[in-house]
Amino acid sequence: MEAATTTTRATPKLGVARRRVGEDVIKGLLLLAALLSVLTTTGIVLSLVRETIVFFGDVGVGEFLGGTDWSPVIKPQSFGVLPLVWGTVFVTAIALVVAVPLGLGSAIYLSEYASPRVRRTFKPVLELLAGVPTIVFGYFALTFFTPNLLNDIGKLDVSVFNVLSASIVMGFMVIPTIASVSEDAMTAVPSSLREGSFGLGATRLQTSLRVVFPAALSGIVAAVVLGASRAVGETMIVLVAAGQVAQITADSREPAFTMTSYIASVAKGDLATGSVQYKTVFAVGMLLFLITLVLNAFSIRFVRKYRQVYE
């Protein structure tokens, strides 16, 4: 066993343990693994920044961020990113119109009303919905939602590729995120607040909406922002079902191009390194990365706030 640091004195005494090289090596290896995630972030930022700088050597920053015409392939080329940004914002907005009420409604029900049995039935449904690959949602939007629901039943006369179908289906994809994060926030509200409210004669509805909801507000905001971030970053649903037309229109029956679907449509195996199209992948990717980074930072900050208050 561990020998205490022996001196000339005869009596053994407890002291600092012998340094074990093996233990240090293991700790070093584990740290190395942890650093890989830092390296990943560094790699993402480096790859995006490097090519983006090269891109801005060819195209002015003002033209990129302020231009309203996106035509990087067909001549005359034009590199105004606003149509792509608009497509992303438009799709995200409609997705949130679907996902916020449905997600929050589900969360309030699960946290304030549901019996354990109902929770056991519906939690897996939400988990399953969260696990459906987005390409499957894309297939559903294109082959079922657009022709059968929007055109046949809704008589909306939408085009084959359209914003409405893609973004409503995306809304359902986002529901589990919003529901689970905001349910966590509501469950974290101490029951003494509810009991106080009931004690004053409030009904369950009043307690849910005027006590629990405001008390969990920062977590609910975090949930919505996180949902928005997922919608902004989602690629396959829009790529499959929303078409590939870079345009600024308020008509959701029309097709649209988003930042993600542009990247996926142009970045294929045969893309020539150093071509303008290659660089646009990184410039648009950079913008996408920055937008989601800001959204995530907001969301993390709000989550931390409610955790501090109640935990």
Partner: protein, 290 residues
């Protein structure tokens, strides 16, 4: 709620209560309905495509001759790469953060925040990372299966780390203290006491990560997965995968290809459900109460 004395207001309040409750339940039910319609729709569209030949044939420009052999093999290979990558790296990171890291040090906090952020980076950005560093640039592997697998691995690594940390944290300190008191070193304690106790939780996290990776399409497109592969893939060959094959078939205008896409979706969903079932089983069977 039980204020009988309030009289007339009572019935109106109760009506409002019931209406609200019904609305909330409808929110949940609508999600369930949507999921149900989606599953039924895919099953109806795709069941005619499923046959033994569907699994043994390569893709083809004639729908009648097309199968998912290359895609399914590609997916299996990719998942193999992902597992071999995320298990050691994910567990090591989780162990470092839970057992070794001194949280008062700024760099340890930075690693934590960084992992939190990585978990929310859009998947297509991992494709761009793979394109710039794995496929071209420093590593220059070309658009091979290995590059796709590593890009997916990086994408789902945060899932494993977060689940692994939770599993490790759930092992009570008394276990560690007992082991140390008997003279074990820190690593002996971790390797022989903490890790075995945390394995079910870690395994559940790994399966969750795989079920996320198996359906990812966007990063594979950017990394350069091929849409038409008529050979069995290997680590250093071009590759396709189930979601890529589905995307390719969905993009074809003919209805016959859509049916093939639905067939491939059925296979993908069955794989997913099977993995989730295993995860739930592990969670229920081996979950330890301390």
């Amino acid at each position: 709620m039980h204020g009988k004395a309030v009289g007339r207001q009572d019935s109106r309040t109760r009506l409002r209560e019931r209406g609200f409750r019904g609305m909330l339940l409808a929110c949940l039910a609508l999600s369930a309905l949507m999921l149900g319609v989606l599953l039924v729709d895919v099953a109806l569209d795709g069941s005619s495509s499923i046959s033994t030949e569907f699994f043994t044939k390569y893709s083809s420009s004639f729908p009648a001759n097309a199968g998912i052999r290359a895609a399914l093999l590609g997916t299996i290979w990719l998942m193999g790469v992902v597992i071999l990558f995320i298990v050691p790296v994910g567990v090591a990171t989780a162990l470092y953060l839970e057992e070794y890291a001194d949280r008062s040090r700024w760099y340890n906090r930075a690693i934590e925040v960084n992992i939190q952020n990585l978990a929310a980076v859009p998947s297509i950005v991992y494709g761009i990372l793979g394109l710039a560093f794995l496929v071209r640039g420093p590593l220059g592997m070309g658009n091979v299966l290995m590059a796709g697998g590593l890009a997916l691995g990086l994408l789902v690594l945060p899932v494993v780390i977060i689940a692994g940390r939770e599993a490790i944290r759930a092992v009570p300190p008394s276990i560690r203290e007992g082991s140390m008191a008997l003279g074990a070193t820190q690593w002996q304690t971790i390797w022989r006491q903490v890790l075995p106790a945390a394995v079910p939780g870690i395994a559940t996290g790994v399966i969750l990560a795989l079920s996320r990776a198996i359906g990812e399409t966007a990063p594979l497109i950017v990394v350069g997965a091929a849409t038409f592969v008529a050979f069995d893939p290997s680590l250093s060959s071009q590759f396709t995968a189930l979601p890529i094959q589905i995307f390719y078939w969905v993009s074809q205008p003919q209805d016959d290809f859509k049916a093939l896409a639905a067939g491939a979706i059925i296979v993908l969903m069955v794989l997913l459900l099977a993995m989730n079932a295993v995860a739930i089983y592990l969670r229920n069977r081996y979950e330890q109460k301390w």
